[in-house]
Symmetry: C2
């Protein structure tokens, strides 16, 4: 059975972005620290077109996160560009000419737009009729493979609150951000049961995978 999966890096005090995020600094103050464990991995660098990197206990986690994904869902801000509507000169997001997804990506937005085809198998399809529709379209495009949720936190909260996420992996990074965007917020009324699937200790991060049921 195909799963709807979400993995995200989080500080020990529960933030997925630091205080005062901006257009230029969407991760907020200190937020970049949450992703250092990934940036230094060969398993992350290669699909992002970068050389080098190391192999460690996080490698299997990263490979698992990238494997068997048939489609991706993400929020408008994760796609990139300014906050306004598409307009006459719509931005192409910040994923470059060959985005690292290599599968169909469904972008949640309030503004209609034609699909945007990139190199390497990534086509961005813009969905204006809600999170359930985006997930349905992604599942159909995934043709039996899993669907990955690319973020960000606001979209993840909506999917969590709706009880639609099957697998949740937290990459817990030993840093206190002291403020910012919490992953577990705006979930009032959601009745979610978590089961701990497995934990992996790696340099500078602990990976904990949960299966979620509503």
């Amino acid at each position: 059975m195909a799963r709807f999966r979400f993995q995200i890096s989080v500080s020990v005090d529960g933030f997925v972005a630091g205080p005062n995020p901006s257009e230029d600094d969407p991760l907020g103050e200190g937020g970049m620290q949450l992703h250092q464990w990934a940036f230094r991995l060969a398993a992350w660098r290669k699909p992002h077109g970068r050389e080098g990197g190391e192999v460690n206990a996080s490698t299997a986690v990263m490979e698992e996160a990238l494997a068997n994904v048939g489609a991706t869902v993400m929020g408008r801000k994760m796609f990139g560009g300014g906050p306004g509507p598409w307009g006459d000169d719509p931005c192409d997001g910040w994923w470059g000419e060959e985005p690292p997804f290599h599968n169909p990506v469904f972008v949640l937005t309030h503004h209609e737009r034609e699909p945007l085809e990139k190199q390497g198998g990534t086509t961005f399809t813009f969905v204006t009729d809600g999170i359930e529709s985006a997930l349905e379209q992604a599942k159909e495009a995934a043709a039996g493979k899993d669907v990955a949720l690319g973020g960000g936190a606001d979209v993840a909260q909506q999917y969590l609150a709706a009880g639609l996420i099957d697998d949740l992996e937290l990459n817990v990074v030993p840093v206190l951000l002291g403020g910012g965007t919490r992953l577990f917020d705006n979930l009032a009324g959601a009745d979610l049961a978590l089961e701990q699937v497995r934990t992996i200790e790696a340099p500078g991060v602990t990976h904990i995978k949960y299966s979620v049921s509503a």
Copy 2:
């Protein structure tokens, strides 16, 4: 070098007690779930005067938490009893005739009181001149062994904010409480660096140990 250690169970969404705590239910709604992993361990049951229990990957963590502790510091509410001053009929806390500490316990309070000696090596000493004094007295009493912080969250936050905790172990339990008391709160201005020491996967809990430096 003796360490000042704190270990606490925390929900995936960062709460150490659930919503609406009360005198009768100090852990709040759902808060008891945070401690089931410990209650079922033989290594927890034996020092608390209970029989049975299981041995699993948490056993070594529990044994480590109880070993080499020469003294304990705790808050007034963790000692137990009502919120008022000691009065004519001071309560004895909720730790019974033979408390599980078996070492000198320093209780932070605003109300002076004579020391209270219990069976099995536990004497409660009441400290009214602040967290640093309590820690100093405990370190002296520990005579080279470590000092454990017994909680609760408000006292832990004061010690964290003051940069006085050396070792922090989080027992991360796969439950979402959705509200309640956060461990990482009221820490404005504290500049703490965490280093991940080790992670242990156990049934229904992940133990992550950090060393903390201010």
